[in-house]
Amino acid sequence: MKIILIKDTGPTEKTKIIYDLFNALLRDAGMHADYQVVRAADIGIYGKGVVVKIFPGDIVYQNVQEDDVNNIIDTTLKQNKPIKDLRLDFQNKQIRIVLRNCGVIDPEKIDDYIGQDGYQGIKKVLQKFDPEKVIDEMKTSGLRGRGGGGFPTWMKWNFARGVEMDQKYIICNADEGDPGAYMDRSVLEGDPHSVLEGMMIAGYTVGASKGYLYIRAEYPLAIERCQKAIDQARVYGFLGENILGCGFNFDLDIRLGAGAFVCGEETALIASIEGKRGCPQPRPPYPSIKGLWGKPTVINNVETLANVPVILHKGGAWFSKIGSETSKGTKVFALTGKVQNSSLIEVPMGITLREIVFDIGGGVLDNKKIKAIQTGGPSGGVVPEDLFDTPVDYENLLKLGSIMGSGGMIVMDEDDCMIDISKFYLGFCVEESCGKCAPCRIGGTQLLNILTDISEGKATMSDLDRLTKISSAMQKASLCGLGQSAANPVLSTLKFFKKEYHGHIVEKTCQAGKCSGLFKYEIIQKKCKRCGLCQRNCPVGAIPGDKDKGYLIEQEKCIRCGRCFDVCKFEAVAR
């Protein structure tokens, strides 16, 4: 049984017409038993007219008109040929390396993975390569850490390899904590074996026989699938002793996180695996030299590890052809926020933000004006719209005061207040600070206080200098990445949206209408139809009046909850 999915993504609402037409014509052709026609509620594509998807397969048609239906049935369904003119090349800007198997294989079946060249990388490495050669290959590939820092993976491995020690460890960092990022989860749930294989190759290269997957407890499905994958790999002899008869021993265990963002930091993560509070340690010594239980330890992010098997299987040179000068390969981003097409995307490094937001994301929701894009989560910053032509790679984002981070990408429109955003991210860091070092613990709280003052219209211009001063102290003096980067959202919004800060401080207005106290709700009498809905919904009785006299918002009583704004059907409540 094949499925035909239909949805009108334009303004015409022709879904039903095309749906009926498909059903009728399929019946005429005697094919209706083989096809199920379904009207989709949401198809993930917007503004492309009637979209028709045919499963299984990768054919997606756009702007389908009544006349096209017959053609689709004749050409595509009967002769299995695509119709070029109608085809929507949805993924042409995306390249799938990390997500190559996600949604393609059954993640709970090791045979499916093997069928997609799985465990070919480790086989090649064990049979043909010495560790030296693996390092060379990784160096050629130019793969850098996908957890955010962008440290060259081969270097990390080489450091750990260089230390003589009876026991070494490989850790997979799957403590994905950035709000708005879920790529690691998708890989662990969709293709756990690729991460396992990556860890094995790392283990062989540095001389480690033991690995840990540190997964967030909030991802029960990922944990379950990884455990299944480990069990299966043991049965198939990919884990355990004398793997593939090459004398290499390696085994894996799962350790669970427990809801502490700071445990994404290497040294804190190690402390957590050791069963302690997840407080970071000063570096050096780096974990590659002295890590878990004092032994050399390589910690790689999920996405990094998922790249490794492909690189070894297809060669570093192949990988290095993808991407930009300094950043090779692809990056998975979780594109969310005020964008039409919220989804997980995998794009080559060097693609511009504009291409990501408009070509892949389909532009902004509700035809609002786009303001900025935020990358790197609470450690990152915002990039304003006029810099959207910047190619995305580690260096460029750093230059703009943001970071690549784990890959959250959040689109913001004119309704989003930059002070509110900074407050949100900073509040996150303050809550998640482990409290060990003063710059992060105290600095964060002070920054948050100042931002709260600004959002309430209580700040003065001199507070902006204090913001910058405290931020730079935190950057320089904090013990770990969390504190060092916590001020990034503040600094970058300050850099690109100083006007908004001025507006809040000097004119005491919040254009976006987010900072309650700096704006008010009013009824535009011209637009008001006197339905009284706002009055009935006001929780504090701040809207007196009746159908004859009209309605008015009493500003002294109003708590700015925005309910009247939400319920008004005539846009007569203005902010």
Binding site: R255, G259, G275, R277, S343
Partner: protein, 283 residues
């Protein structure tokens, strides 16, 4: 040793029936018939849990007594459950806000015997046969992890999975089994958000605080829930029906704003829908 429960109520029939019920379930019970006597009994008997009636010699005696107990450093850790039949009476002092009374739960009379025992169990340890079972469970959990390095967090995960939280008596038992100080166990529990020290509410509301959800309006929805339920994030309603928590990201940013009640995910939630969604769970 049996766990002790103190019953403070002026209704002799209720006290007698409840005493029998609790004793049959393996608890030691002591009684008092007014706030003053109750306060004295607490000092003498140091019970593990207190059931306290709201209206005795005067209408707010229960509330006053609870406040007095909470102000006394020596006894303030003992959990109090307020019981009241006042909900049905017209002259209930409605100006008294339940959130101001320092009690763990409020149970309304008539109280279902099962509910009473369940509540007692959730706040104090277990007795007799159940205690043996509990030690058995814990032994099994610890046995599985004992020889592995850095096992504490994994053991706590297993305990929380079993009990829904990490009960205090379990932590005591655990430090005996693992030969580590209690402080070591508690420093870990309190560091990580995931571990809970209080029993969870019947329905857990998780509000996604991911960036996408935040931008699309979780703060407003959260306010609405707070207004309806009268609790802050991290708290449980006094009837134990709802627990509200903020979570970092539920990983369904495409559906923002998202909230989850127990295992059910609600996407693209609007403020006006909150009441309807919550009322599904009160039936």
């Amino acid at each position: 040793m049996k766990n002790k429960i103190l019953l403070i109520d002026d209704d002799a029939d209720f006290v007698e029936a409840t005493q029998l019920l609790l004793e049959a379930n393996g608890y030691d019970v002591c009684c008092a018939s007014n706030g003053k006597e109750g306060f004295q009994k607490v000092k003498e008997e140091s019970p593990d849990l207190i059931f306290l009636d709201m209206m005795m010699t005067y209408k707010t005696e229960g509330a006053e007594t609870a406040k007095a107990m909470a102000a006394d450093a020596a006894i303030k850790m003992i959990p109090i459950i307020l019981i009241t039949g006042a909900g049905k009476e017209k002259d209930f002092p409605m100006d008294l806000k339940t959130s101001d009374i320092p009690v763990k739960r409020i149970l309304e009379k008539p109280i279902n015997p099962e509910t009473l025992i369940q509540v007692a169990k959730s706040y104090i340890g277990l007795t007799g046969k159940e205690r043996r079972e509990f030690v058995g469970t814990l032994d099994a959990i610890v046995g599985k992890w004992k020889d592995k390095e850095g096992n504490l967090i994994m053991i706590l995960h297993a305990i929380q999975k079993h009990y829904g939280y990490v009960p205090r008596n379990v932590s005591f038992e655990l430090c005996r089994l693992l030969h580590v100080p209690l402080a070591r166990i508690y420093e870990v529990i309190t560091f990580y958000n995931y571990f809970k020290l209080e029993p969870p509410g019947k329905n857990l509301i998780s509000m996604c605080m991911g960036t996408a959800c935040y931008l699309k309006g979780t703060p407003q929805i959260l306010d609405e829930i707070k207004n309806i339920l009268g609790i802050e994030a991290g708290e449980t309603t006094k009837d134990g029906f709802f627990q509200l928590q903020n979570v970092r990201c539920l990983g369904c940013c495409g559906l923002a704003p998202v909230m989850m009640i127990n295992d059910k995910v609600y996407g693209k939630v609007q403020r006006g829908e909150v009441m309807d969604i919550l009322s599904e769970y009160t039936k």
